[in-house]
């Protein structure tokens, strides 16, 4: 039985934590939080690129490190723990994974090396309005290689160089690569629940669009990309959930009420135990997702959904009860608890809300059961 990080992976993880403890301090996160003009921390982004993390799972032929997905999961866990204000997920979990899943050799050769080098920021655009998107409802249209329509919200859409856009051509859905610096694209930066991450509304009026993957399979491809991203996002959520528990724990040990550490009251002890239990369940489900992703197993859709559902629930619970454990202080801007509360919402929404994934999970179970 070998259901855990290997020693090498643990080493990588420890090094990643050391790096982020120094390079991604709360001050760095708050630098983006408090400055509406910034939607990510460029110096940190550059240093992360220097670490080679952007290409961790990219094959060596494209200048990546050619490591497995497990290593990427280990990095994701630490990024989540540090609440890193960078477009890592959009670029690595979405764009790079989409390219490796469906890109032509030429597309991979053109874009993956740039990603690995930190020269290219990505985005993934499916939603067009409130509520979960459906293939039938997609309004964005491609005709003669030109994209017209609106995508909102698009995470990191305000800073991305290339977006993967779900749109329809001749009535059938496809994924399309769009250079956002090119003509026919206007971006509007949006105010969101998590100012440490950038989000934009993208309006396309005849922007050049290049198809990614076979025609007519856009919705299916988008789901396949989301499955991969869901596993990696789950590790970011797990990292954030465990950091929230640590914050709550250390406050419970240092804060006194009625002459006792508040951590000596069962109301707090059991609250933290509840967080711990949810986090452990999330970790176990995330590991299964990591295995399925790394092995390219047929179980990925179920494993990814389970990982996302468990991690979203764990991070939400941990982040809100961390604030509660801090009492009045937890509600202040100065204490970091709300950074994780905000990030827990960002991560739970960015690839579609938990309810959508629960439905996907159950329909997978039905299929498995029917088969």
């Amino acid at each position: 039985m070998n259901f855990d990080y290997s020693d090498d992976q643990k080493f990588l993880k420890t090094e990643a934590r050391k790096f982020l403890d120094a390079a991604c301090t709360p001050a760095v996160v708050r630098g983006v939080l408090d400055d509406p003009a910034r939607s990510y921390d460029e110096p940190l982004w550059r240093r992360i690129a220097e670490q080679g993390w952007l290409g961790a799972a990219i094959p060596e032929q494209y200048n990546g490190l050619g490591l497995g997905r497990i290593e990427l999961c280990a990095i994701a866990e630490e990024l989540g723990r540090a609440c890193a204000p960078v477009p890592f997920a959009s670029t690595v979990y979405f764009l790079a994974e989409a390219l490796m899943l469906a890109g032509s050799d030429e597309q991979q050769a053109r874009l993956l090396p740039k990603i690995a080098a930190g020269e290219l920021i990505g985005a993934f655009a499916t939603s067009e309005g409130p509520g979960a998107y459906s293939e039938a409802g997609i309004q964005a249209r491609v005709e003669g290689g030109k994209l017209t329509g609106v995508k909102v919200p698009v995470t990191d859409g305000d800073v991305a160089d290339v977006a993967v856009v779900l749109a329809k051509e001749a009535g059938r859905s496809g994924l399309y690569l769009v250079e956002l610096a090119g003509g026919g694209v206007t971006r509007q930066t949006l105010k969101t629940l998590d100012p440490t991450r950038g989000v934009a509304k993208l309006s396309f009026s005849g922007a050049a669009a290049e198809r990614l993957g076979p025609a007519g399979e856009g919705a299916a491809l988008a789901e396949a990309v989301m499955d991969r991203a869901a596993v990696l996002l789950a590790f970011e959520q797990l990292g954030g959930a465990e950091r929230s528990l640590e914050m709550a724990k250390s406050y419970a040990l240092e804060r006194y009420a009625f002459g006792r550490q508040i951590g000596s009251y069962q109301a707090i002890k059991h609250k933290l135990a509840d967080i711990y239990v949810k986090n452990e369940l999330a970790r176990s489900n995330a590991y299964y997702g990591a295995w399925a992703l790394n092995a390219g197993a047929a179980e990925l859709p179920v494993a990814a959904a389970a990982a996302r559902v468990a991690a979203s629930e764990a991070f939400w619970f941990a982040s809100k009860e961390n604030i509660q454990t801090h009492g009045g202080m937890g509600f202040t801007w100065e204490v970091d608890a709300h950074l994780y509360y905000r990030r827990s919402r960002q991560l739970a929404l960015v690839a579609g809300a938990p309810a959508v994934w629960k439905e996907r999970l159950v329909s997978q179970l039905e299929r498995r059961n029917a088969a």
Partner: protein, 411 residues
């Protein structure tokens, strides 16, 4: 079992309504709930003060206070009825005076000499002077008796140094009551003393607290060598804990409540969202949750009716009213988050110009953590219910007999 007024109540309601129609301000203050005043325009307080003065003339400022102090000499239920009618006409403005008239001034009335009472009660009642309450401290939180702000005797004065926190209204209050540590060698409950102070005294500095929700409804108040004459003492030296109990006892019965977001708001959102299978309102999972929220909200509403019935029958309602905040705060967080998740990816957008219902749910998501804490955390309120309603034993206390200075306090 019905919702009708008794003949006396009906008569009073008619009288109150008539007076309100004749006197309610055309352009009212919008600060009706405590803590809301923060962000309002400068003219707002003037409007609130004018309305307060008018109510004082009419004997509606403090309905349950005796007439000789300018009150209405009325019953609690009359006070509730007036409140309902005042809410209907949207007269507002109560937020500025709630703490002063509900907690501070009653304490002054109970412990100050006649001259002081004559000086302060009238102006406060007429809204000419606003009071704040300086109890909580950074190290204390829900543990008021842990106050460590020091007051040292110096001739006829006391010199105060320390810090208070979570003080609402401190930035506009004229006066306040403050509880300070006068004897660190005594056990925590036995070394405290209460004073009234002029908030413009030299050495007092008020700093707003920046909340995660963006607003600033509370303040930190710093005391640096603030001199207070002993004549401003309320109650005996080192007897401040007993005095503070009177203050807190006077805490005004909360029959209001709610954030404006409830089952009907999220129902509206669901109706407006189209899913692959129709409107989100047709989702069975949502419908089951909606029923739970409805039952909670209505349950709270009818619990308030039961409380009013007790008042109407001349009984004193118990701490059971504290269930209101536990339910309301938790429900707001759950409901707001469910709404945000129902919007799916779009839920992250917090721009009122773009998000459904002017981003009301995103706002609720960010304010609800505060509601679960302010005025007693969920955990404190459950202790209150367990001990005062159910009669279960108090938590084991390790801080009763230790000299305050030796009591572990963490950093």
């Amino acid at each position: 079992m019905d919702f009708t007024d008794s003949p006396e109540e009906a008569a009073y309601r008619t009288k109150a309504r008539a007076w309100l129609e004749a006197n309610a301000p055309k352009k009212p203050s919008t600060a009706s709930v405590i803590g809301e005043e923060g962000a309002l325009d400068p003219g707002d307080m003037a409007r609130a003060k004018a309305w307060q003065a008018r109510k004082a003339e009419g004997g509606y400022a403090q309905i349950t206070w005796p007439k000789e102090w300018g009150g209405g000499g009325g019953t609690p239920i009359e006070s509730v009825i007036f409140g309902q009618e005042e809410a209907k006409v949207g007269a507002g403005g109560g937020g500025y005076f709630q703490i002063g008239l509900g907690m501070c001034v009653p304490t002054v009335m109970a412990f100050a000499d006649d001259a002081t009472k004559q000086r302060f009660v009238g102006p406060a009642l007429r809204g000419e002077e606003i009071w704040c309450q300086l109890f909580s401290e950074p190290g204390g939180g829900s543990d008021v008796a842990a106050a460590s702000t020091r007051a040292v005797r110096d001739g006829d004065d006391w010199v105060i140094n320390g810090q208070k926190v979570w003080t609402s209204g401190a930035h506009y209050a004229d006066y306040g009551i403050v509880i300070v540590r006068t004897n660190p060698d005594a056990p925590k409950h036995k070394g405290l003393t209460m004073f009234w102070i002029d908030m413009k005294s030299p050495g007092i500095e008020v700093k707003p607290i920046h909340q995660m929700s963006g607003g600033s409804n509370f303040n930190e108040v710093y005391f640096t060598d603030v001199r207070v004459p002993d004549s401003q003492r309320l109650g005996a030296i080192d007897d401040g804990w007993k005095v503070s109990l009177v203050t807190l006892m006077n805490e005004r019965l909360a029959v209001g409540g709610g954030s404006g977001l409830d089952y009907s708001t999220i129902m509206k959102l669901a109706r407006s969202l189209q899913t692959a299978t129709g409107s989100a309102l047709s989702d069975q999972a949502f419908r089951q949750k909606l029923a739970d929220w409805y039952v909670q909200s209505e349950g709270l509403k009818f619990t308030r009716f039961r409380t009013m019935t007790a008042l109407s029958r001349g009984q004193t309602p118990g701490p059971e009213s504290s269930i209101g905040k536990i339910i309301a705060a938790g429900q707001l967080q759950d409901l707001a988050n469910s709404a945000v998740e129902m919007e799916d990816q779009f839920g992250i957008i917090d721009d009122p110009a773009m998000a459904p219902l002017a981003a009301a749910f995103q706002g609720g998501l960010l304010s609800s953590p505060g509601l679960r804490i302010a005025g007693g955390t969920d955990e404190i309120l459950k202790n209150i219910i367990a001990e005062r309603v159910l009669g279960l034993p108090g938590d084991i206390r390790v801080d009763k007999d230790v000299p305050f200075k030796d009591m572990p306090r963490g950093r």
